[in-house]
């Protein structure tokens, strides 16, 4: 274990180096460009054994990854925003063929208008593709999560996206602890694929036409396997904690035991909110935080149990569903709580779109307002757009 200073992108690239995948096929896009740029330096310097495939688009990048994964390789790539959108078609193909590809992603808004900064629209738009999703709060977590995700993906044959917030984490240098190369290798182990398209002794058929008679059965089986990801994740996260001393639950609770109200949010904002919670507690206000880290598969029972104990919860969504009903975290959380025995009053704050700064004062305002909801026993405003000009 050693302490180094790295940006989120450097931390992700470093984890990829230590994982030493067989194939990385990637196309650069801000703010994830550095990840593959740094990784390609590792390739050029002979520090990894990876076959690096430079392609002409993200669609091709993930397609090449699918081919390499079918061939039995340990495969990774990296992208952001429009790049993930262009991969969208292939996301389903990778997941449907059960290929444990891992994407080191940087969360960035989707055009238009053109913007390169953080929100969660890109990955939230890929929720239904059949990929595990982990949202990281800082560089340390991004580094750790890539290693954890790779192992979970390979054990469950479910691909994974690990993401950080654009610039806020991707380009911010922080102090972090990294494992030794051999420790990472021992932890992830040798990849034993279920099959290889290059195994000429045992030829197989991949991706055949599958019509009304069997498609549904195959999808049902995929959904069932997806439901096992959380269990495997919990086990692997525990193993990782034993190795590194850092434990990352799928759903994290911070100072929630005696709290009446909580914010439920993800990414770097959750980290900042912890600091706010500490400050509020110094003032004697009992408030907590629940952090959504895994959003696919949804940790349904965990969310129900965690949020069920509060009188009121403010969801903070860094994207919108364009359903005229707030953000995706809010929508799905409402669904989860529908049949909960005890459920909180639930409001939504859509914030930080296109990288709009979220300050401590913004988070304090949310805590103030949610406290007010408890006092009144009712919600005045279900969905608030926080920090946008023209809104109260």
């Amino acid at each position: 274990m050693k302490t180094i200073a790295k940006t989120g992108n450097e931390a992700m690239a470093y984890a990829m180096k230590q994982i030493n995948p067989d194939v990385v096929a990637a196309y650069p896009i801000t703010p994830a460009t550095e990840i593959v740029q740094i990784f390609s330096n590792y390739v050029a310097d002979g520090e990894v054994d990876t076959e690096f495939v430079a392609v002409e688009s993200e669609h091709s990048a993930l397609s090449a990854c699918v081919g390499a994964s079918l061939a039995g390789g340990r495969v990774m790539t990296s992208t952001a925003s429009q790049g993930l959108a262009l991969m969208h078609e292939i996301l389903y193909i990778a997941a449907g063929n059960r290929l444990p590809i891992v994407i080191a992603l940087v969360n960035r808004s989707l055009s238009a208008p053109i913007n390169i900064h953080c929100d969660h629209s890109d990955t939230m738009g890929s929720r239904e593709a059949g990929w595990m999703q982990l949202y990281c709060a800082n560089s340390q977590e991004a580094y750790d999560s890539l290693i954890i995700a790779l192992k979970v993906a390979e054990q469950t044959a479910v691909p994974a996206i690990v993401s950080t917030d654009a610039f806020i984490i991707s380009h911010a240098m922080e102090r972090l602890e990294v494992l030794e190369d051999e420790e990472v290798q021992r932890f992830i182990g040798e990849y034993k694929p279920r099959f290889s398209a290059l195994d000429l002794e045992n030829p197989k058929t991949f991706g055949p036409l599958d019509l009304q008679d069997y498609f549904f059965e195959h999808k049902r089986a995929q959904i069932d396997d997806f439901s096992k990801v959380l269990g495997t994740y919990n086990k692997v996260a525990q193993e990782y904690a034993e190795l590194s001393g850092r434990y990352y639950p799928a759903l994290e609770e911070y100072k929630t035991d005696d709290a009446d109200v909580a914010i439920f949010t993800a990414g770097s904002t959750a980290d900042t909110a912890k600091e706010v919670v500490d400050g509020l507690r110094e003032q004697g206000r009992k408030m907590g935080l629940v952090r959504m880290r895994m959003w696919r598969p949804l940790p349904v029972e965990e969310i129900k149990a965690a949020l069920g104990k509060f009188k009121a919860v403010a969801v903070m969504d860094r994207s919108d569903t364009m359903a005229d009903f707030g953000g995706p975290v809010f929508l799905e959380t409402r669904g989860i709580l529908y049949d909960a025995k005890k459920k909180p009053l639930l409001t939504d704050y859509v914030y930080g779109l296109g990288g709009r700064n979220i300050d401590i004062s913004d988070i304090l305002r949310v805590y103030d307002e949610i406290e007010q909801v408890v006092k009144q026993g009712k919600i005045d405003k279900l969905i608030t757009y926080l920090g946008v000009r023209g809104e109260e």
Partner: protein
């Protein structure tokens, strides 16, 4: 809430404000601090005003917000003083460090700084004389370390040298030149 030491760097695209923040951050980490160093990104064009930030602490840093009230503001290019309010949000008893040919008192008066100290050093002159190039960013680190006192001089210098060695693999004259320039800025910085 935790106490932070926060820095805002002002420069122009190409002057290395981000690099200075990263070097300062890494040097601080070597002395045992928890650190953040991050640029404020926009369209990156040579000559456009840019900002970069540092946040230092004795414990783990969890906040990921912009720096609003810096303890120190460093200005890599005096021409920015005309167009940008560099003292915005500067904390009481903080410090403004400017790369300029003018005297500290003159800058202090010009910008009407009453709540903080102003320090100046002609980093451009030092850079041109020693490095034969207008690269004031690393030079300013010398002034920065001296004025703020948050880092121990010897270990900060050693760390910066180490990072320069990685960056300029084997090009001794650049590495040594930078170290000499940083030392000169440390000696020549003037305070009002």
């Amino acid at each position: 809430m935790q106490q932070y030491f926060e820095v805002r760097w002002h420069g122009r695209g190409g002057q290395g404000a981000k690099t200075a923040a990263l070097l300062f951050g890494e040097a601080a980490m070597e002395t045992g601090k928890y650190i953040q160093a991050f640029p404020e990104y926009g369209p990156e064009r040579t000559g456009a005003p840019v900002k970069a930030y540092n946040r230092l602490s004795d414990g783990p840093i969890r906040i990921h917000t912009q720096v609003i009230n810096p303890d120190v503001v460093v200005v890599l290019d005096a021409s920015l003083l005309e167009s940008i309010n560099v003292t915005e949000g500067l904390k009481d008893n903080g410090a403004l460090i400017v790369n300029t040919q003018e005297k500290a008192a003159a800058i202090k008066e010009k910008l009407r700084v009453t709540n903080a100290k102003v320090a100046v050093v002609d980093a451009t002159k030092i850079a041109v004389e020693i490095l034969k190039k207008n690269v004031p960013n690393t030079v300013m680190l010398g002034a920065m370390v001296k004025i703020t006192g948050v880092l121990e001089w010897d270990s900060a210098l050693a760390s910066i040298k180490e990072k320069l060695e990685v960056k300029f693999r084997g090009r001794t004259e650049i590495i040594e030149g930078n170290v000499e320039a940083i030392k000169r800025a440390y000696d020549e910085v003037e305070v009002a």
